[in-house]
C-alpha cells in the first residue's frame, strides 16, 4: 500500500446547524460570536433547560415520510457535503456510509407505545417506529444519495460522531469502498431532554464550558457529514482536498457507566495514541476542539487529560469548546466539531469558548476566550467522550501541497 493509499483526506463537508445549512453558514455565525442557545420551553413546554432549536426549515428533499427528523438532518447534511460532486461517477455510486446517532428515530415515538404498542402502530406508528433503529440513519443517507456501498451506524453516546469518522477511515484503509460518508446526526426530542434533565445535567442558562462556575450542558441538534477518501482516490478524480485526517484513536475509560475517570486517563491515552498514529509530537498540535460539555465532572476530567497528554510542551495547548455556541448535539457533536476543526485549519480562525470568564485552573492549557484568535494552524485535534466511557480523538491537518 502506497502513502497515497494510506493517506485519508476530507473532500467534502456538509453541515446542518442552528446557523443554517452549510459550513460557510456555520463559520460566519461562529465568527460573529452569535450564540444560538434559546430557552427550551419555547419549543418544549415544561423543560427549563436551554437548548438550540434548528433555525432553518429543512428543505423538502429530506422530508420523506418514513424518515425521522434525525434522518432528515443527516440526509440534508449529506447532500450539502456533495454539492459540488460528480454524483454519476462509479466511485460515488460505490461509496459507503458510517453514520452516528444516539437518538435516531426516538424523535418519532410517543410514550403511549409502551402501554399498547399494537394500538399505537395501528394509529400510524408503524412506519414511524421503523425509523427507531440507529441503522436507519445510515440507510437514510445511503438511500438519499443513491449509493450502494456498505452502510453502518454507530451509537456510542456523545463520542458517536467522531467514532463514525474513525471507523470510516479504517474501512477506507481496508479498501471496502472508494469513498465513505461519515458523520453524525441527532434531533432534539422530549426523551433526551427529559433524560438529561432527570440527571440534573442541564444548565438552565446558556452553558459555560470549562468555567469554574459551570452548571451543566445545553442540548442541541444538528448533523455533519464528512466525505472521506484516500489521497490516491481524491487525486484520481481531481478532487479538492479540504484537510487530511492525520490520525485517529478510540479508547474506553472502563470506569463508570456515566462519569468520566476523574484524571481523564482514558481520554489522555486516546490523545496519545492518536498523536502516535499521526506521527506528530504534542508540541505540533496547534489547537484542540474540546468535548467541553459544561458539566462539572466532564470538564475537570478533560482538563486533567490535556495536562497529561500535552505535558512537556513549551507553550500551553490552546483549547476551546464550541458547544457554547449551539449546545451539545449528542451523536452529531463529534462530527460537527470535526467540521469546525477543519474550518479552523482552513481559515486560521480559532473560535473561543463563549461565556468563559473564570476558567478551570490548568497551567498546561491556554483556554481560548474573548476574541477569535487568528494564527496559522497546520494541525488540530478534536476530542470526544461519552457515557459508557467511550473516547475518540481525531487529528486533522491542512491539505497536501
Amino acid at each position: 500500500m502506497t502513502d497515497l493509499q494510506k493517506t485519508i483526506v476530507v473532500t467534502g463537508v456538509g453541515v446542518v446547524s442552528p446557523y443554517g445549512i452549510g459550513l460557510d453558514c456555520l463559520q460566519e455565525g461562529m465568527l460573529s460570536g452569535k450564540c444560538c442557545l434559546t430557552p427550551a420551553k419555547d419549543a418544549y413546554p415544561g423543560f427549563t433547560g436551554t437548548t438550540a432549536p434548528i433555525c432553518v426549515p429543512l428543505p423538502a428533499e429530506g422530508s420523506r415520510s418514513r424518515y425521522s427528523r434525525t434522518d432528515r438532518l443527516a440526509a440534508v447534511a449529506a447532500r450539502d457535503a456533495v454539492a459540488h460532486f460528480d454524483c454519476e461517477s462509479a466511485a460515488f455510486r460505490e461509496s459507503g456510509v458510517v453514520m452516528a446517532s444516539t437518538v435516531a428515530g426516538l424523535t418519532e415515538i410517543d410514550p403511549e407505545i409502551a402501554q399498547d404498542p399494537a394500538a399505537w402502530y395501528r394509529r400510524g406508528g408503524l412506519s414511524r417506529a421503523a425509523s427507531y433503529p440507529v441503522a436507519h440513519v445510515a440507510d437514510a443517507v445511503g438511500e438519499h444519495l443513491g449509493i450502494c456501498g456498505p452502510r453502518c451506524a454507530v451509537s456510542v453516546a456523545c463520542a458517536s460522531g467522531a467514532m463514525a469518522i474513525a471507523l470510516a477511515a479504517n474501512l477506507l484503509l481496508d479498501g471496502v469502498a472508494p469513498m465513505m460518508f461519515a458523520g453524525g446526526s441527532d434531533a432534539l426530542c422530549p426523551f433526551t431532554l427529559s433524560g438529561f434533565s432527570s440527571l440534573q445535567a442541564l444548565d438552565p442558562s446558556p452553558c459555560r464550558p470549562f468555567d469554574q462556575n459551570r452548571k451543566g450542558l445545553n442540548l442541541g441538534e444538528g448533523s455533519a457529514v464528512l466525505v472521506l477518501e484516500t489521497l490516491a482516490g481524491a487525486r484520481a478524480r481531481d478532487a479538492n482536498v479540504l484537510a487530511v485526517l492525520r490520525g485517529w484513536a478510540m479508547t474506553n475509560d472502563a470506569f463508570h457507566p456515566t462519569a468520566p475517570q476523574q484524571q481523564g486517563s482514558g481520554l489522555a491515552e486516546c490523545m496519545r495514541r492518536a498523536m502516535e498514529i499521526a506521527e506528530v509530537g504534542r508540541g505540533e498540535i496547534g489547537y484542540v476542539n474540546a468535548h467541553g460539555t459544561g458539566t462539572p465532572l466532564n470538564d475537570i476530567a478533560e482538563a486533567n487529560a490535556y495536562e497529561t497528554a500535552f505535558r512537556g510542551r513549551s507553550l500551553p495547548i490552546p483549547v476551546s469548546s464550541t458547544k457554547s455556541y449551539f449546545g451539545h448535539c449528542l451523536g452529531a457533536a463529534g462530527a460537527l466539531e470535526a467540521a469546525i476543526t477543519i474550518t479552523a485549519i482552513r481559515s486560521g480562525a480559532l473560535f473561543p469558548t463563549l461565556r468563559l470568564t473564570d476558567p478551570i485552573e490548568s497551567p498546561g492549557v491556554d483556554w481560548l476566550r474573548g476574541e477569535v484568535r487568528r494564527q496559522p494552524l497546520p494541525l488540530a485535534m478534536s476530542a470526544s467522550a461519552g457515557f459508557g466511557g467511550s473516547n475518540t480523538v481525531l487529528i486533522f491537518g491542512s491539505g497536501p501541497a
Partner: protein, 357 residues
Amino acid sequence: MTTNSPGININITGIGSVSPYGPLAGLIPPSALEPIAITAWPTAGLRRAFLVSPFRPASVVPGLKTRRLDRLSAWALVASTLAIQDAGIDLSQVDRSRVAVVFATCFGCVELTEAFFQSAVAHGWSGTDPSTFPETLANAPASHVALFHDLRGPNITVGSRGFAGESALLQAASLLRHGQAELAIVLAGDVLTRAVYEWYETANLLSPACYHSETSPEAGGFIPSEGVAALVLEAAGRRAGRAKVRSYAQLRSGRWASGGQPVEIVRQMLGGSDPSLTVCTTNGAPCATSPVTAVAREIAGDGAIIVPPQAVAAGLSDTSALLHLILALSSRPNSGQMLLLGTSGDIGFAALLLELR
C-alpha cells in the same frame, strides 16, 4: 458496490452465548428447538417466539451483579465472560488497554427505553427515572462489558440493516489488522419485547409457526428470537501466554454492500470452485421468503452443501450472524471452507469466508 476486507488472518478462539439454547460456552450441542409461548405480556391468543429462559447471571458468572441492568446488558456480560473463558484467556495476563469490544444491535436497550416511556406516561416528562435513562443508550451493554472486564481499548456499538453482526465482525477484524487492538470481543444480539414483537406482527412479518404450535419452525417465515452471541477474535499467531491456542475458524475475507448482485462478487472472493465449500445462509432481514438459498446455489454450484437459515438465529434479524456462525460451526466441525451468506430483498448482501480449523 463491492466491499472488500482483504487479507484478514483473524482467528476465532472463543465462543459464548446466551440464546434460546441457554447460556453456553463454546459450541452449541445440536438439538431441535421449538418456539415457546409468550407469557411476558398479554396476547390475543397463542403467540410464540424463540425466547431465552430466565436464569440468574450470577449462577453462570459468579459475582456478576446485574440487578440494575436490562437483560441485554446482562446477557452481554454473561456471553462475553463465557467466550473469554472458552478462549482460555487469563485477562490478568493481557494488556487490557489493547482489548476492543464491538457490539452489534438493532434495537439496543429497548426494554429500558420502554420503561422510560412508561415512567413518562405515569409521571410526565418531568418525572422520569434518572437511573434508567443512561441505560437506555445503545452502547450500555458494551460499556458494561468493558467495565466488568476492565477493557480499555476501542468500545464500539454498531447497527446495520440486515447485517449488523457481519459489520461488527469486519470492524473488529479491521481494528486488529490496523493494530488498534490485539484482541477483540465481538457481540451481537437483541432482546424481544412486546413493542418489538407487535411491530413484526402489525407489519405482517411473522411466520404461521408463531400462531400455531403444530406448525414446525422449518415451515419457513420469520419467528422472532432473542439472545446475545459472543466471539473472541485474535490475530493469527497470537498466544498471549497460553500454551495452546484453539482456533474454531479463521476469518479469511468478507464482502458487504447495501446494493448490487452478490453472485459475481462472492465468486470473485472465493477465487474459484471449492468442492469442500459449505454455504451457511442467513436471511439478513425478517421476511417470509428469501432468495438467499437460490443465490447460494448460484454462487457455489450444485455440488456444494447449502445449509438453510436456522430459524432460531434468523429470528435475531440484523444481529443473527454470530449465532448463525456458532450454529454452523457446531454442526460442521470438519475442515474446509465455509461461506456465511446473507441476502434479502433490497438490503444488499454480506458474505464472510471462513477456513475451518
